[in-house]
């Protein structure tokens, strides 16, 4: 496997609220390698965005705080822990080595600055480019993301672009400095499917051509199946299963992953087959269930599940945090009457 670009180790991010401490990210570890596209999937509120904002050091503090862990960014043979950097050092990393595309382009595009300014500014700051060179590169970038008549549009403001075009401008800005690592948090949720397909194609192409490592955050298993080499499934603040696309889609182990897959209608001959929903709702992250956090909703839970399940390696790159993956445990008694 090529060298890692980003390594996250035992990351914990919490929110201190009146009702208690929200354990939004609770011991998350993973790595993304050069040229790799990794998907982070899970339902609303499971901690996907807080994981990515922790990596970017953009957690609003207070009420949030990164309370433990390491976020190692590798560059030219050395690794630095982003959690140890101060804000000015972080600003030098953001946009240059590490870029992020957000779900809502209007939150990260500045409405009162032209697209041209927002594209050229980082080039001038990080690479000391002249105004002319930066504008040339900006036009190139806009062309690359499929904005027609790019040179004429440099002086336009974000509101003069449609939703899909804004999203593409964001990609252009995120890629301006050839980052090593691109994080895309639900980059296509607000887009129509045909425009979504354009954008995902674009991200994939850049990932292949420039070797930029990509972390795609989404709740859409379909997007991940199409795009990602590796998939991580998150539930209640933790990664509960991870593996290559084929491992996860063809041999899911964790009952939550299986449940997610059985919940979505699939286009094809089986599209009208009944869905098997996961009963109940995700837990409150102030007081998550003891042991396996999926236990109250799990159709296969056993007595052992009251203890936290170990991370079980299943060969290849596949692991799962579930007691049923532990050899010899299958014969334990079912957890009758436990389910709420």
């Amino acid at each position: 496997m090529p060298e890692p670009v980003l390594e996250v180790r035992d990351l914990k991010t919490q929110f201190f609220t009146r009702d208690g401490v929200v354990k939004a990210v609770d011991g998350v570890s993973f790595a993304v390698h050069r040229g790799e596209a990794v998907g982070l999937v899970g339902e609303s509120g499971c901690g996907k965005s807080m994981t990515s904002l922790s990596v970017m050091r953009l957690i609003p503090q207070p009420p949030g705080k990164i309370v433990a862990g390491e976020v190692l960014l590798h560059d030219e043979g050395t690794a630095q822990d982003l959690l140890k950097l101060d804000e000015s050092e972080m600003q030098h990393i953001r946009g240059r080595l590490l870029s992020m595309i957000f779900q809502d382009p209007m939150t990260s595009l500045n409405p009162v600055l032209t697209i041209g300014f927002q594209l050229t500014e980082p080039l001038k700051i990080h690479f000391n480019m002249s105004e002319d060179d930066a504008r040339k590169r900006a036009v190139e970038l806009l062309q690359q993301v499929g904005i027609p008549a790019a040179a004429e549009r440099l002086n336009d403001y974000p509101h003069q672009f449609s939703g899909g075009m804004r999203q593409r401008v964001m990609v252009a800005i995120a890629l301006a400095c050839n980052p090593k690592m691109l994080i895309a948090d639900e980059p296509t949720t607000a887009l129509d499917v045909t425009v979504q397909a354009q954008l995902l194609d674009l991200i994939k192409e850049l990932n292949r051509e420039t070797g930029t490592a990509v972390l795609i955050i989404t709740h859409d298993l379909g997007v991940v199946a199409d795009l990602c080499d590796r998939v991580m499934v998150m539930y209640a603040g933790q990664i509960i299963e991870s593996g290559t696309g084929d491992e996860i889609f063809d041999h899911p182990q964790h009952p939550y992953t299986v449940g997610l897959m059985q919940s979505v209608p699939r286009l094809g001959p089986t599209v009208r087959d009944p869905l098997v929903p996961i009963e109940g709702m995700p837990p409150d992250l102030i007081a998550p269930p003891a042991g396996c956090r999926f236990r109250p909703r799990c159709p296969r839970a056993i007595a052992k599940c009251i203890e936290p399940p170990p991370r079980v390696f299943l060969g290849g790159e596949h692991y799962s945090s579930c007691w049923l993956a532990v050899e010899g445990v299958e014969d334990e008694p079912a957890l009758a009457g436990e389910r709420a």
């Binding site: 449609s162 129509d192 499917v193 397909a197 889609f249 997610l260 009208r272 009944p274 929903p277 709702m281």
Partner: protein
């Protein structure tokens, strides 16, 4: 909750008998941007749509944001006054009826909305929300009915005194469904009822809608932008683009043999969570144009991979392309 909700009806057969709903040439235009000394322009949100819905079936409507799905739905339930066209429901033209003559028909057509957060009155209790339509029509035994309805949608009867904000999105959607079925309607118009829900909750609500349909013989007009969701629940599907219906057919025809290039692109762009079904995508150029200023000829021509000269001039009509399948494309 699982096996028995399997739909036994063959989905390929074209429907027979009389439609319960026949929409013909329906238009809804909005004047926009008018003001002092400025002429309003006309936004043609729905611009000549015709289709039939048969008793007991689910007719799905798909299309991308802004193509006019919600406007069409709201015009059919007469929340909007149609600009032109007819809405024939069980033999009565709703578009021609006065408010008082409309009232008895209105109870037979109910609607479920997309946003489970804003569609319920936050000051009313759950019981009050579900009871309201019963009260409007002076129905007897309302307390008992409300309890029954809550149970039918999988909610606890003791929720009656609680307020919407105490519930999750999926639970609120169930409250909206209980209210919509309270008067035993014949037709339920569901406008993106699961789009705001997480996938595990979405599956719960889809199963509930299917179960209720079988129990009560409901007819659904089901709107969503997610083709897989629409295909899952629908017997037949209509595909909309920029205020027009571009293709209608059985779920099987639309998902295995689409004839309109837009339907083909929509199908190929839908992300599928199965690796072995990954396929070549048709990537369309550009984005959906504004309905304020739709392209000439075929509205799809600027993005169409097979557009020819003719398409820029001549607007294609829906025509039969297969058994029970129609498409509006010169080359379909």
């Amino acid at each position: 909750m699982t096996q028995q909700t399997r739909d036994a009806r063959p989905t390929e057969a074209p429907p027979s008998g009389d439609p319960i709903l026949r929409v013909q040439g329906l238009k809804k235009h909005f004047p926009v941007g008018g003001g002092f000394l400025r002429k309003a322009s006309i936004l043609k949100a729905v611009d000549g749509v015709s289709f039939d819905v048969y008793p007991g079936e689910t007719f799905g409507l798909v299309g991308e944001s802004g193509c006019g799905k919600s406007t069409l739905a709201q015009t059919i339930v007469r929340l909007y006054e149609p600009t032109a066209g007819t809405i024939n429901f069980n033999g009565n033209d709703l578009s021609a009826l006065s408010a008082s003559r409309l009232r008895p028909h209105r109870r037979e057509i109910q609607m479920i909305f997309q946003d489970p957060y804003s569609s319920l009155d936050p000051r009313m209790t759950v019981g009050g929300i579900v009871e309201e339509p019963l009260r409007n029509y002076g129905e007897p035994d309302r307390r008992e009915r409300v309890r029954e309805l809550l149970l039918q949608v999988g909610l606890n009867a003791y929720f009656v005194n609680r307020y919407p904000h105490e519930f999750s999105g999926g639970q609120r959607q169930r409250i909206g469904i209980a209210r919509a079925i309270a008067l035993n309607p014949k037709l339920v118009v569901c406008d993106e009822p699961v789009s705001a829900l997480d996938v595990s909750i979405q599956a719960q609500v889809l199963n509930l809608l299917r179960g209720l349909q079988q129990e009560k013989g409901l007819t659904y007009l089901f709107i969503a932008h997610n083709l897989a969701v629409v295909a899952h629940i629908s017997d037949r599907i209509g595909v909309m683009y920029l205020g027009k219906m571009v293709e209608v057919g059985s779920t099987k025809a639309i998902t295995t043999d689409p004839r309109h290039p837009y339907t083909k692109a929509l199908l190929s762009a839908a992300p599928i969570p199965q690796r072995h079904l990954r396929r070549e995508r048709i990537i369309l150029r550009g984005e959906v144009p504004s309905p304020l200023n739709p392209p000439t000829g075929c509205r799809f021509h600027p993005r169409c991979p097979i557009a020819a000269d003719r398409c820029t001039q001549e607007e294609p009509e829906l025509r039969v392309v297969g058994p029970g399948q129609t498409a509006a494309c010169h080359f379909a």
